[in-house]
Amino acid sequence: MARELWKGNEAIAEAAIRAGLQAYFGYPITPQTEVLEWMARRMPELGRVFVQAESEVAAINMVYGAACTGARVMTTSSSPGISLMMEGLSYIAGTEVPVVLVNVMRGGPGLGNIAPSQGDYQQAVRGGGHGDYPRIVLAPSSVQEAIDLVTLSFDLAEKYRTIVMIIADGSIGQMMEPAEMPPMQPLYHRQWDWAVTGKMGRERRVLSSIYLDPYQEEQTNLRLFRRWQEIQANEVRSRAYYLEDAEFVVIGFGTAGRVALSAVRAARQEGLKVGLLRPISLSPFPHQVVAELAQRVSGFLVVEMNTGQMLEDVELANAGRVPLRFYGRPGGVVPFPDEILHEIHALVEAPPTPGEDARLAWLERMTRLGGDGWQR
């Protein structure tokens, strides 16, 4: 198919439709509303299900119900709405049904703002709903990658009977750029041996997240984490740029990774041996890739649009081996490439001592530079 100009949110919606999406349930919230609007027009004209729910709480529970029948189903929202969905996500995880969810992140906490942010990394990767449950989290850095990851998400969700969350930030949702849309997949209701569809002559089935006997719940927790081992072994994804001879490596995901790439290219033009590692699967995180880099490079620069959430995963993998510097722009601020280039220079010229608290050092720099960062 030809490359066309696509807006991120609309591309996410159309990619899901082409992946055989049977039902979409959502609620308006900036900066993801265009997904809902695209679905509102496209799904009915294709004879598929679209419901604008009364809240994100209802939307995720509609998704939960539809997922229990084995249907390909998704919802999308932005940060405050995702918080409301956490109850449903925990139930979905406990029931082991496949669900795809997209979070077009905005500045927070609270109502925050509608600017692009990566503030929900920890919520997506570590936390969110109650109880012990892992989930796959993917982060695109372009409209094309968002399309590709949406397609992949449905297959992963069904393969592992798990939640797949795509965390894009507002700029991925709002930007327009050329991208190639995959062909339309045939629409059909997949038959699973666990799905609740009406017993129709077979033994009746029940889908539930209740395990009243703690020993059974323990077995469920263990089953989820055994499955997670399989996911960790097979589904780690990252993209490497100029890493072959790199002495210093910038690590950033999504839009922060994309902006960092511009800075890395500028540094290369100056003759600096700098590369970029852009994690695509944030959960499972490419710990092994980072750990291997930590054996041979001289320093890391972690760049995020938050106060250092992925930083903690990098620190785990680095285990204090090489000097680590952090640069974050939280609250809806997107860093410019020259800011990151400045940080690269600082890392190369004066690497921090290993073991130094990278976040604290960053916070002190930010404070020194005028209380609210060095660029407004």
């Binding site: 419901v51 939307a59 529970n61 509609m62 189903v73 009406g198 017993k199 029940v206 539930s208 209740i210």
Partner: protein, 259 residues
């Protein structure tokens, strides 16, 4: 013994729609009656094979053990949203929720109102026993004024704790609702009327005539601190006056149905 179980001598059996799983309900509680009525209706309509139930959180949390059909278990109050998801992708299935007053009229108020407003073709069986039973008898949105519960120990004070909510009347204002009625389970006559209403509610659904709900006034002898017989009398004498029995919305198309 052999003669007792001869087909000609059997006058009462477990309906096909109920499993042999013993229920956990307290002695004298009317959940068992409500379950039986639903099971009889599903069997009578020959829809057990394509029925999907949505269990609530509350005393009926284990309802999925007792009905011989496919079931899912919802989060507290979210059963109508979950039922919406199921019904929209499988429109030819018979989808019903079974919810108590805390689940439906408190934490799940938004979900029930909007499912009715959208005219979702689902059937809701609403058990109103004026308290949160599973957690030990706290005040519910349907607790009567002055009624003592563990969270209104001096009796529900309407000045600070507000008034009971009449759900059937409220939902009956919505255009999407095809059939919304209130019945009671306090005596055989009312049980028969409740059964007929449940049948009409499911008929409303299978004919695609919109949202249907049967509110059933029910007992909670354990948490009310009454004997089963006293509890039935409480329903008749105290609950029925506050929650009048009747048909609150019967759309013209539903009114044509004869069962």
């Amino acid at each position: 013994m052999a003669t007792l179980t001869a087909p000609a001598n059997i006058v009462f059996t477990r309906p096909e729609g109920l499993t042999e799983f013993p229920t956990h309900y307290c002695p004298g509680c009317t959940h068992g009656i409500a379950h039986r009525l639903i099971a009889e209706v599903l069997e009578e309509m020959n829809v057990l094979d394509r029925a999907i139930g949505v269990a609530p959180v509350g005393c009926a949390v284990f309802a999925y053990n007792y009905f011989d059909c496919d079931f899912v278990e919802a989060a507290h109050g979210r059963a109508p949203a979950m039922a919406t998801g199921i019904k929209r992708v499988l429109p030819d299935r018979v989808v019903f929720t079974y919810q108590g007053d805390g689940d439906l009229a408190s934490i799940g108020m938004a979900e029930i109102v909007h499912a009715a407003a959208r005219g979702e073709n689902i059937t809701v069986i609403f058990i109103n026993n004026a308290n949160y039973g599973m957690t030990g008898g706290q005040m519910a949105p349907t607790t009567l004024p002055g009624m003592k519960t563990t969270s209104s120990p001096s009796g529900r004070d309407v000045e600070t704790q507000g008034y009971p909510i009449r759900m059937a009347e409220m939902l009956a204002t919505l255009e999407g609702a095809g059939y919304v009625v209130r019945r009671s389970l306090h005596d055989p006559k009312n049980i028969r009327l409740a059964r007929k209403a449940i049948r009409l509610a499911f008929e409303t659904q299978v004919r695609g005539l919109g949202f249907s709900m049967v509110e059933l006034l029910s007992t909670c002898p354990t948490n009310w601190g009454l004997s089963p017989v006293e509890a039935l009398r409480f329903v008749e004498e105290r609950m029925v006056p506050y929650f009048p029995l009747g048909d609150y919305r019967v759309s013209p198309a539903v009114a044509q149905i004869r069962v």
